[in-house]
C-alpha cells in the first residue's frame, strides 16, 4: 500500500513537467459564441430585479397569473405512470404507441395512409429533433437538394439545416406593410424555384409572425406544389394552439394530403401538451407504399442511432397515456382549447388597450395573427427601449409571445408599447 502511494506521488510529480511543456489550451482560439437570440431573452429577464418586469420572449405558455402550467391531463398521466418503473431502452424509433397516436393527430383518425402503413415515423426530440432528423435524412438521400425557408422563420430552422449541411434558400412570406402574408411574392418564389425543390412550411401559427395562409391560399399553394413537384415539409409545433381545435389546425396538411402530396412532418408536444422539457415529438415521412415506409423508417433510425441511440421514454409515456385513453384525451382537448382561448383573449385585450390609448398606428394585426406569437412591427431599437426602460423582454425582431401576457400586465404592456411607438 505504502509502496503504491510512493509510486503514484512520484508519478504525479514527474507528470507536472509534461503539463508545463504544453502550457496553452487547445481551445485558445475558440470564440465566445453569440447568445441564442431567443433563449438569451429569458436569461436576461431572470437576471432583472425589477418588480414590473414582463417576459414576452420565449414561447412557453403561462396562465393568467403568469405561471407555467402543468396540464391536468398530464398530472393524471404522471400519476398513472408513477407506478411504472420500466426504464429500459425504447427502440431506436421510439415508442410505437406514442407514434401511432401522434400520426392520428396530424393525418386524421381514419387516415388511409395510416391504415395502409405508408407513413415512416419515428419518435423525435420534440420539434427541433424531428426537423434535424429530417434535415440529415434529406442530406443523405437527396444530397443535391436545398431547403427553402420562409422569411422570417424560427431562427433555429436556419441552424438545423445548416448543421445538416443542406444549402438554404429563402422564400417570401411576411409582408411588412400589411403585417400579413405576402402571398403574391410567395407564389412567385414557389413558381420560380426549380422543380422538385424542398420547402419548409409552418403548418399553423407561423413562428414568429403568427401569419398563416387562409384555407384558399393553402389550396393554391398545394396546387402550385403539384405543378412544380415540390416537396412539402411541415413543421407543426402548435397543433391545437392556433384555433383551439387540432383538426382545424392540421387543415393545411390535410389539404396537401388530399392533393396526393407525399409530405414530411415534424410534430411537437412541447407547447400543446406543455411537455417542453421532456422533449417529445415525432417525425413522419409519407411514402408510396408500406415497403418504402419500412425502408425510410429504418434509415431514419440509422440517423438517430449515432446521435442519441434511442429517444427518452418518459415524455412519450405521458403522451401515449393521455392519447390512448378517451377520457384523458378529451380532457387534453379541453385544456388545449382553454390555452388557445386565453391567448386569443389576450390578443383582443392588447389591441383594445392600444386603441384606447389613442395609438396612431394600426394594431389590427394583433388579432389577425394567430397562435402564440404576434409580430408587433416594433423595431429593434424600440424593443431595446422597451427592455431598458420598461423591463419588458422580447426578441429583437419585435415578436411578442402572447402567452406571457396576462390581464394583470396587459395594460402595462400596452402603455409601454404605446410610449415607444407613438412618435414612430
Amino acid at each position: 500500500m505504502a509502496l503504491r502511494t510512493g509510486i503514484s506521488s512520484r508519478i504525479l510529480r514527474s507528470s507536472s513537467t509534461f503539463a508545463l511543456r504544453s502550457m496553452s489550451s487547445w481551445w485558445r482560439n475558440v470564440e465566445p459564441a453569440a447568445k441564442d437570440p431567443i433563449l438569451g431573452v429569458t436569461e436576461a429577464f431572470l437576471a432583472d430585479p425589477s418588480p414590473d418586469k414582463v417576459n414576452v420572449g420565449v414561447g412557453a405558455y403561462r396562465d393568467d397569473n403568469g405561471k407555467p402550467v402543468v396540464l391536468e391531463c398530464v398530472r393524471e398521466a404522471e400519476r398513472r405512470i408513477a407506478g411504472n418503473l420500466n426504464m429500459e431502452y425504447l427502440p431506436m424509433g421510439g415508442s410505437v404507441k406514442m407514434v401511432e397516436e401522434t400520426l392520428k393527430l396530424a393525418y386524421g383518425e381514419n387516415s388511409n395512409l395510416i391504415k395502409d402503413k405508408r407513413i415512416a415515423a419515428v419518435q423525435a426530440l420534440s420539434g427541433t429533433g424531428a426537423c434535424r432528423l429530417f434535415a440529415d435524412f434529406q442530406k443523405r438521400f437527396c444530397p443535391d437538394s436545398q431547403i427553402y425557408i420562409p422569411v422570417p422563420t424560427w431562427a433555429n430552422h436556419h441552424n438545423i439545416w445548416r448543421d445538416a449541411q443542406v444549402p438554404q434558400r429563402t422564400f417570401h412570406y411576411y409582408h411588412l406593410e400589411s403585417k400579413g402574408l405576402d402571398f403574391a411574392s410567395m407564389m412567385d418564389d414557389i413558381k420560380n424555384a426549380p422543380n422538385g425543390s424542398f420547402f419548409l412550411l409552418h403548418a399553423c401559427a407561423h413562428n414568429p409572425t403568427g401569419v398563416d395562409p387562409s384555407e384558399e391560399q393553402w389550396r393554391e399553394i398545394s396546387y402550385q406544389f403539384k405543378v412544380k413537384g415540390h416537396f412539402a415539409f411541415f413543421d407543426m409545433a402548435y397543433q391545437g394552439f392556433a384555433s383551439g381545435n387540432p383538426e382545424r389546425d392540421a387543415k393545411s396538411i390535410r389539404i396537401f394530403l388530399e392533393d396526393g402530396h407525399l409530405i414530411g412532418c415534424a410534430q411537437s408536444y412541447a407547447k400543446n401538451m406543455g411537455l417542453y422539457g421532456q422533449r417529445v415529438g415525432c417525425l413522419s415521412v409519407v411514402c408510396e407504399d408500406e415497403k418504402q415506409a419500412v425502408a425510410v423508417k429504418s434509415q431514419l433510425q440509422q440517423i438517430a442511432r449515432p446521435m442519441y441511440s434511442n429517444p427518452p421514454v418518459h415524455g412519450a409515456l405521458i403522451v401515449s397515456t393521455i392519447l390512448g385513453d378517451p377520457d384523458l384525451k378529451k380532457l387534453w382537448l379541453k385544456e388545449v382549447k382553454a390555452m388557445a382561448d386565453r391567448i386569443i383573449g389576450m390578443r383582443t385585450a392588447l389591441r383594445e388597450n392600444l386603441e384606447k390609448l389613442g395609438s396612431p398606428l394600426s394594431w389590427e394585426h394583433i388579432t389577425n395573427q394567430i397562435g402564440m406569437f404576434c409580430y408587433s412591427g416594433l423595431t429593434p431599437e424600440q424593443v431595446d427601449h422597451l427592455t431598458n426602460h420598461f423591463h419588458i423582454y422580447m426578441t429583437r425582431n419585435g415578436r411578442i409571445s402572447l402567452a406571457g401576457v396576462t390581464t394583470g400586465n396587459v395594460g402595462y404592456l400596452a402603455n409601454a408599447i404605446h410610449e415607444v411607438s407613438k412618435s414612430a
Binding site: 420500466n86 438521400f141 422538385g196 403539384k226 405543378v227 408510396e288 418504402q292 419500412v294 425510410v296
Partner: protein, 453 residues
C-alpha cells in the same frame, strides 16, 4: 424491366426521377420499345406538371438492423422457452428481470418539477454533480472552474456533441479508437465529421490487452490527434489497462499532445467502486492537461431509456471553459435545443442527497458483485465440463461484457441450436446471466467449441 429508363441510384437527379415517373404514367399498360424510345425523346425536363406519385425518397433502401439492438429483436421473435438474451448491455437480476434501483423509486417521488425547458446545457445541479462524480469532489480542475459540463442524451449524445465540437473547433480531425470498440463509436464520430483510425487494443491470443501494440500505435499517431479511451470496463472486451499501464499511456499521450476523449459508461459497474472506476480519468486530469469525458447513467443508475448523460471538457483556464461551453450550446441547439429533464432530475436528486447517494453505491456494488459472481460461475462451469481452451479471461475481464473469443460461426451455432443471443463478435453480456442459466450457456459454449471450427 424498363431498359430505357435512367438508372435510379442514389445519385440520380430529381429530373431523372421525374422523367421516369412521367414515362411510367404515359406508358400505361401496353408498351412497345419503339413507342418508349420516341417518348423518351419527346419528353423534356421542363414538363408542364412535375408532380408525380413517386416519392423523392423512392430510392431509399432498407437499412440493415443495428448489429447490437438487432440481437434483441431476434431474441424477442424466438418462441423457445430456454432462450437467453446476452446481447444488449442492460442489467438483469438473478430472475432475469430488469432492475429498478430502490434508490430510484425514492428519487422519483422527490424529483423537482421544473415545468419547462431546461437551459441548452441542461440541469445545472446535474452538471455540477456529474463532474464531481467523475473527476472527484476535490478535483482541482473543478475548484478552478476549468471544467465545462453539459447534460446530453446518455453516452451516445455526449460523445456526439463532443465530437461535433471537436470537428468544428479542434485543429486535428482524426480520432483513434481502440480495436475493437462499441459498434456505434465509428458512426458517431464519422457523422460528426471526424475521420476515424484505430489503435491496437485487444490481443486475441491472450484475450487480454495488446499493450505493446497500443503504445506503438499511439506513438505513431500524429501530434494532437484525438484518442478515444474507455474509462473502465472496455466494451466489448472487458479488458482494461492496469493503473501502471494507464500511467504509461498518459505519459505517452501528453508527450505527443494527443487529446484524450474518455467514454465512461460503466463507472461503478466495473469494480463496484465509483472512485476506482474513475482512476484513469482522474490521472489525466491530475496532470493539469485537457481532456473530454462522456458519462452515461444508463447502466450504473439503470436509467437506460431516460437518456441521461453528460459531456465534460476540462480546459486549461476558466475563461477557455466558458467560451467552450458557449460553443457547445451552438452544437446542441440545432440538434435538439435542450436535453430531456426527467432522467437528469432523478440523477441530481440522488447525487445531492447523502443517504440516497450511499444507498446507490450499495446497490451499484451489489450489481457489480453479481456480475463478478456470474463470471466465476461461468468459468467454473466450463472447467467442470472440460471445455477445451483457456477460459480464465472470463474472470480476468471486467464489467458487463465478456469477449468470449468465439467466432461468428460458433455464435450462429449457439443461437440456432441453443437459442442464445449474442453479438456476432462473441461478446456476451454477463448481466444477462443468472445462476440458473449459466449451465445452459456453458453447455452451448462447450458444444460450439467442440463441434464448430
Amino acid at each position: 424491366m424498363h431498359p430505357q429508363l435512367p438508372s435510379l441510384g442514389a445519385n440520380s437527379s430529381s429530373t431523372d426521377r421525374r422523367l421516369s415517373a412521367l414515362i411510367r404514367h404515359l406508358e400505361g399498360s401496353s408498351s412497345s420499345s419503339s413507342a418508349m424510345e420516341s417518348q423518351n425523346q419527346t419528353i423534356s425536363a421542363s414538363a408542364t406538371s412535375a408532380f408525380s406519385d413517386n416519392s423523392v425518397f423512392g430510392h431509399v433502401v432498407r437499412a440493415p438492423e443495428d448489429a447490437i439492438l438487432g440481437v434483441t429483436v431476434a431474441y424477442n421473435k424466438d418462441p423457445s422457452p430456454v432462450k437467453l438474451n446476452l446481447g444488449v448491455g442492460a442489467y438483469r437480476t438473478e430472475e432475469g428481470k430488469p432492475l429498478v434501483l430502490t434508490v430510484l423509486q425514492f428519487a422519483l417521488i422527490c424529483s423537482s418539477r421544473v415545468k419547462e425547458y431546461l437551459p441548452i446545457v441542461g440541469l445545472a445541479d446535474f452538471n455540477k454533480l456529474s463532474a464531481k462524480l467523475i473527476f472527484g469532489a476535490d478535483s482541482p480542475a473543478i475548484r478552478e472552474n476549468r471544467v465545462t459540463t453539459v447534460q446530453c442524451l446518455s453516452g451516445t449524445g455526449s460523445l456526439r456533441v463532443g465530437a461535433e465540437f471537436l470537428a468544428k473547433h479542434y485543429h486535428q480531425r482524426t480520432i483513434y479508437i481502440p480495436q475493437p470498440t462499441w459498434g456505434n463509436h465509428v458512426k458517431i464520430f464519422t457523422l460528426a465529421g471526424l475521420s476515424v483510425k484505430t489503435y491496437s487494443y485487444y490481443d486475441p491470443a491472450t484475450r487480454g490487452l495488446n499493450f505493446q501494440g497500443l503504445l506503438e500505435d499511439l506513438g505513431s499517431a500524429p501530434s494532437g490527434a484525438i484518442v478515444l479511451l474507455h474509462a473502465c470496463a472496455h466494451n466489448p472486451t472487458g479488458v482494461d489497462p492496469t493503473l501502471q499501464q494507464w500511467e504509461q499511456i498518459r505519459q505517452l499521450m501528453r508527450s505527443k499532445g494527443l487529446l484524450p476523449f474518455f467514454d465512461s459508461a460503466y463507472q461503478g459497474f466495473a469494480s463496484g467502486s465509483l472512485d476506482a472506476d474513475a482512476q484513469s480519468v482522474r490521472m489525466f486530469v491530475a496532470d493539469g492537461g485537457e481532456c473530454l469525458a462522456a458519462q452515461s447513467y444508463a447502466k450504473n443508475m439503470g436509467l437506460y431509456g431516460e437518456r441521461v448523460g453528460a459531456l465534460s471538457i476540462v480546459c486549461k483556464t476558466a475563461d477557455v471553459a466558458g467560451r467552450v461551453e458557449s460553443q457547445l450550446k451552438l452544437v446542441i441547439r440545432p440538434m435538439y435545443s435542450n436535453p430531456p429533464i426527467h432522467g437528469a432530475s432523478i440523477v441530481a436528486t440522488i447525487l445531492k442527497d447523502r443517504n440516497m447517494f450511499n444507498e446507490w453505491t450499495i446497490e451499484l456494488k451489489a450489481m457489480a458483485d453479481r456480475i463478478i459472481s456470474m463470471r466465476q460461475q461461468l468459468f467454473d462451469a466450463l472447467c467442470a465440463r472440460g471445455t477445451p481452451g483457456d477460459w480464465s479471461h472470463i474472470v480476468k475481464q471486467i464489467g458487463m461484457f465478456t469477449f468470449t473469443g468465439l467466432n461468428s460461426q460458433q455464435v450462429t451455432f449457439m443461437t440456432k441450436e441453443y437459442h442464445i443471443y449474442l453479438t456476432s463478435d462473441g461478446r456476451i453480456s454477463m448481466a444477462g446471466l443468472s445462476s440458473k442459466t449459466v449451465p445452459h450457456l456453458a453447455d452451448a459454449i462447450h458444444a460450439a467449441v467442440t463441434r464448430v471450427a
